[in-house]
């Protein structure tokens, strides 16, 4: 079943176009990683899916309904982000209790266990929490709500490495026990890639690549060797990234459409092939110039 379907989805903030004709389909019970540079439109997309803001043009269906001002969507979606408006008059335990009344599948026992594990004080006020502790508290809400559609917008902001690791594991374990649709946006693809089934890469308010995470890993290949030889292999291919490695050595990233016998032939001439990590690939695909930051310093 399809959980989210967008066609030509567009959102303008004044003169600024945040989403520009996005067309995607997200299937049920998958963990999808939402990846993109700052300003690519990730948060805007999540806000529209959650029904918090209205689209300017195009079509969006969440559980087959238009999400804006929609009760079905509100009841079945939880949207976790770093600017959540939680009541300041309640202490942390009271917030959890209040949250439990909103969500049908809420698991109070899980909420309590996570709450204790991360050493929260039930009587503490939300506003007194540090940045990382706020994020951790949000993710407790996000996991315990067990919503059929869980949206996590950079959930690990401010968390230390140990807490991030615990959170990823908690997310996976709860997903295995209670499969549901999860979208997680992050700038740390290397940390979450193993958890993901699909990766949705956004660029300039549009979908750029939407692939199974496993295919993403093999989508591109790095070629390194003598510049002339490397050029032989890359001249008829689209170059995604290029870097000069000293006087006569180049490193070039291209689409991985080389066949095994071609690879062997090239290896014999002294060319090295290396996989491109998804997180590097995303940087290459979304950068404005082929040479990256080096170009800025090469204008002499």
């Amino acid at each position: 079943m399809t959980v989210i379907e967008c066609r030509g989805l567009t959102k303008d903030y004044g003169r600024n176009r945040a989403l520009n004709g996005l067309t995607i389909k997200i299937e049920e019970n998958k963990i999808t990683g939402l990846i993109g540079r700052n300003g690519a439109g990730k948060t805007t997309l999540l806000k529209i899916i959650a029904g918090h803001i209205k689209e300017t043009a195009g079509e969006i269906k969440v559980f087959s309904e238009r999400p804006f001002n929609n009760l079905t969507v509100s009841a079945n979606v939880i949207f976790i982000h770093d600017q959540m408006n939680l009541p300041t008059a309640l202490n942390l335990m009271e917030i959890l209790e209040a949250a439990s009344s909103f969500y049908e599948n809420w698991d109070q026992a899980l909420a309590n266990r996570l709450f204790d594990y991360f050493s929260f004080n039930p009587l503490q006020q939300y506003n007194g929490l540090s940045k990382g502790m706020k994020s951790t508290f949000h993710t407790i809400l996000g996991l315990s709500a067990r919503c059929p559609l869980t949206l996590l917008d950079e959930p690990t902001t401010g968390m230390d490495a140990a807490v991030r690791k615990d959170f990823y594991r908690a997310l996976l374990k709860d997903y295995l026990a209670y499969p549901r649709s999860i979208i997680i946006s992050s700038h740390h693809l290397n940390e979450i890639e193993d958890l993901l089934e699909d990766i949705l890469l956004m660029k300039d308010g549009k979908e750029h690549l939407h692939l199974p995470a496993a295919d993403f890993k093999e989508w591109a290949i790095g070629i390194q060797g003598k510049t002339g030889l490397v050029h032989e292999w890359t001249k008829e291919r689209e170059i995604l990234h290029t870097k000069s490695m000293g006087p006569d050595q180049s490193y070039v990233v291209v689409r991985n459409d080389l066949l095994e016998h071609e690879l062997q032939k090239a290896r014999a001439t002294g060319i090295d092939f290396s996989p491109v990590t998804p997180s590097d690939l995303c940087v290459y695909l979304t950068s404005k110039s082929k040479g990256g930051i080096d170009d800025v310093f090469n204008k002499d």
Partner: protein, 126 residues
């Protein structure tokens, strides 16, 4: 449990290779039920779809067989097939790499063969 020791390899391949090792080590015998995709996901902290891909590779090679609704089981000839595959693919590739590196370093064939013999403890005494 930590995978990704070799970050260059896709996770599902690492999973299938790990399962092969488990079978070779005798931790899973013939017709024994192997881990489910969910157990593998939990063990390695990976998406269950990735784990399923690792299992399916072995099922495609008939090293595992599926029983509807029950899961995947180790084939009777699994060990043999894995050994053959490793010999004909993995070992062959490693040998090619060694030969290539030897050429780069101007190591002669005879010298290379001596090195292989020296590395093989059983033949050191010869």
């Amino acid at each position: 449990m930590n995978l990704n020791l070799d970050g260059s390899k896709p996770i599902y391949l690492q999973v299938s290779e790990w399962l092969e090792r488990e079978i070779l080590n005798g931790n899973f015998g013939s017709d024994q039920k192997i881990y489910s995709q969910y157990q593998l996901a939990e063990i390695f902290n990976i998406n269950p779809a990735t784990a399923a891909k690792g299992l399916n590779i072995l099922a495609d090679e008939n090293i595992l067989y599926k029983k509807r609704g029950l899961g995947m089981f180790v084939a009777g000839t699994a060990k043999e097939m894995i050994l053959n595959k490793r010999k004909n693919q993995t070992l062959k590739r490693l040998v090619q790499e060694i030969v290539l590196e030897a050429e780069r370093l101007n190591v002669s064939k005879a010298e290379l063969i001596d090195m292989i013999k020296a590395a093989n403890i059983g033949e050191v005494e010869e």
